[in-house]
């Protein structure tokens, strides 16, 4: 090794040592400086800046998936136009003035309503009755005072007695002891036109790929996952049916025939909601924080999804927070057995314990009768196979499953009725959406949730009074799946069908 090499190695070692020493020293200084900066008052400002920046980014890219709706628009003649091309019409149902009407007239209404349901031959028509209850702060008293004759015309002692009576009622109303209720009927009729785009899987895929390309161009290739999610939502979850004006009119005319049939055959007094009334009902049902609906666009074909979905729905617990209002659902899992009567639901609709915001929803879905008969037949076969297997294991006739025996006998009677045209099969479902008080901070939310729990217990107890019925509060996962379709106008054939299968409410009328 020559001297030059030794000098070179020494120089490199020296330079490396100095560099390493400097680096370590700088790292120490840097660490200390970072700690000092964190401790300083400036750090608070920096953290605040970062939070602000995060919040600013959240404005354009908020957490969670976008809220969706099946409603696409409102037609000029006051029908809801859904994204899949179907239509919904809403009616205000005039309720009887008294609970003490003759039993025979109540039964007659019940039977006529059953005949109406059986007479709708189109498959997938949903009839939803919504009984909305709110505490009455005295509106009924106000209406009464406005309607009464001029007090000066009345006999003085009678006026005094009446005033004292009204004052007593007013005190009760202030304590939220009275409820006011409104019954509405919503009918959704599916409508397909020969020119409508296919809803087959291949068609959905064909629509997805161009949408994905468009999203990638818009968001950039780096945000590929987000582009896939957005385009999938747009093309599959919200597959829009767009029609030419002529096709739209044809579909609307067909759907209107069903609406007219219901109006003419119904034993109930139905008053269709005007376009503005319908918009108000749908808007305020979707936007719990709002108190008034904005002006409805007059353009035929205008998309109203943006204003309907402009509020968050979140929560993964026993309740969902819709805007500022916590909500829960109590469902009737098993209907009353072995018999039902026309006045059974009065336990819910005329219950003085239920003086809080809640909506009891009963849905009926028409079925393809031939397919329903085939399903009954296959159920008989399955039961027979189970029965013969039990008999093979034990020749003792007492060993037969009594449930299976009753089911077979029921199906036999029902098939006879259906074949004779005396009965038809429908699907039905009943549940109550319970609302807490709107909450603006954590304290209020805690109090509201406590009251919501109490309300749900009251509703469950009311359902429990129906003999043989089984009701309960929906679990968090089920609540998230079911709540959306309980909103006004969101009655969905596909989703309703899917969820009603979970409850064997398929009954006969």
């Amino acid at each position: 090794m020559d001297a030059l090499t030794i000098i070179g190695i020494a120089f490199v070692a020296l330079t490396g040592g100095i560099g390493l020493g400097l680096g370590l020293r700088l790292l120490r200084i840097g660490g200390r400086a970072r700690r000092d900066v964190k401790r300083s008052a400036q750090a608070g400002a920096n953290a605040s800046t970062m939070r602000d920046e995060l919040a600013r980014r959240r404005l354009s890219q908020p957490h969670g998936s976008r809220r969706t709706t099946s409603i696409h628009g409102l037609t000029r003649n006051g029908l809801l136009r859904h994204a899949d091309g179907s239509y919904t019409k809403a009616y205000r149902v005039k309720m009887e003035n008294t609970l003490y009407a003759d039993d025979a007239s109540v039964d007659r209404n019940y039977n006529e309503l059953a005949r109406l349901l059986a007479s709708i031959r189109q498959r997938g028509v949903v009839l939803q009755f919504r009984h909305a209850v709110h505490p009455d702060p005295g509106r009924a008293i106000k209406r009464h005072l406005e309607a009464q004759s001029q007090p000066k015309d009345a006999y003085m002692p009678a006026r005094m007695l009446h005033t004292m009576d009204v004052a007593g009622l007013e005190a009760e109303a202030r304590c939220s002891n009275y409820q006011e209720a409104q019954l509405t009927l919503w009918i959704r009729v599916p409508a397909r036109h020969a020119n409508d785009s296919s809803r087959a899987r291949l068609g959905a895929l064909a629509a997805f790929l161009p949408a994905l390309a468009k999203e990638i161009r818009r968001q950039g290739a780096l945000r590929f996952a987000s582009a896939v999610a957005t385009s999938w939502t747009r093309t599959n979850r919200e597959q829009l049916t767009v029609r030419a004006l002529r096709d739209e009119r044809e579909c609307m005319a067909r759907a209107s025939q069903i609406f007219a049939h219901v109006e003419h055959s119904s034993p109930l007094r139905l008053q269709p909601l005007a376009r503005e009334e319908l918009w108000q009902a749908v808007y305020l049902g979707h936007r719990m924080n709002e108190h008034a609906a904005p002006r409805l666009p007059q353009v035929e074909g205008a998309d109203i999804r943006q204003p309907l979905c402009a509020e968050d729905i979140k929560g993964d617990g026993e309740y969902l927070l819709h805007g500022r209002t916590p909500v829960g659902i109590v469902s009737l899992f098993h209907p009353p057995t072995p018999i039902v009567t026309a006045d059974m639901m009065r336990l819910l609709t005329a219950n003085p314990n239920l003086v809080f915001d809640h909506t009891t929803i009963t849905e009926f879905i028409t079925l393809d009768q031939e397919q329903a008969k085939r399903e009954l037949k296959s159920q008989v076969k399955s039961l027979s196979r189970a029965q013969s297997a039990t008999s093979r294991r034990s020749p003792d006739p007492d060993a037969d499953d009594p449930e299976a025996g009753v089911a077979r006998s029921d199906i036999k009677n029902l098939r006879t009725d259906v074949s004779g045209g005396r009965a038809a099969l429908i699907e039905a479902r009943c549940y109550t959406v319970v609302y807490g008080q709107p909450a603006r901070n954590k304290e209020e939310l805690r109090a509201s949730i406590a009251s919501l729990d109490s309300y749900c217990r009251h509703v469950t107890a009311a359902f429990g009074k129906l003999s043989g019925a089984d009701a309960g509060r929906e679990q968090p996962e089920a609540l998230r799946a079911l709540y959306h379709q309980s909103l006004p106008g969101e009655l969905d054939t596909r989703r309703t069908d899917e969820n009603s299968k979970r409850r064997p409410h398929r009954s006969h009328v």
Binding site: S60, P62, H63, G64, S65, R66, R67, T68, G73, R81, A83, D103, V106, D107, Y110, L240, T241, V242, R243, A244, L245, E248, E300, G301, D303, Q306, C309, D312, I313, K314, D316, P335, P336, P338, I339, V340, T341, A342, D343, L376, Q379, L383, A386, A389, E403, A407, D410, I411, L414, Q475, E477, A478, R480, A481, H484, R502, R503, P504, R506, S507
Partner: protein, 110 residues
């Protein structure tokens, strides 16, 4: 009031080994897959053909699975659970950038 019969039992599922008759087709498919797939790929365990174990194993597992999602649970518990796992618990409000402004009437061709 007149009394009407409620024939609620007509759609009660027929249960065997804890599995409703409507779910047996899935058990059958899973068992078939458990038997056929290792057979096609020629898997062996210590020189013994794997389908001998995997067929029985998948049958037992699928029966256990369908029992697990049914016993003591509300109907459709599994479907709702799965849906809740796959979707966000926050349904955020729609924003202008979501472009929800598509008309449901096709414009006339000129």
């Amino acid at each position: 009031m007149q009394e009407y019969p409620m024939r609620e039992r007509i759609y009660l599922p027929v249960v065997r080994f804890g599995v409703p008759h409507t779910d047996w087709k899935y058990v059958f498919l899973i068992t078939m897959a458990g038997f056929v797939l290792p057979f096609l790929f020629g898997f062996t365990i210590f020189g013994i053909p794997a389908p001998m174990f995997t067929g029985i194993g998948t049958l037992g597992l699928s029966v256990a699975f369908f029992n697990l999602i049914r016993m003591g649970r509300r109907p459709y518990w599994f479907q709702h659970k799965l849906r809740a796992c796959l979707s966000s618990h926050v349904k955020r409000r729609a924003l202008p950038q979501d472009n929800l402004n598509q008309s449901w009437l096709r414009p006339k061709k000129r």
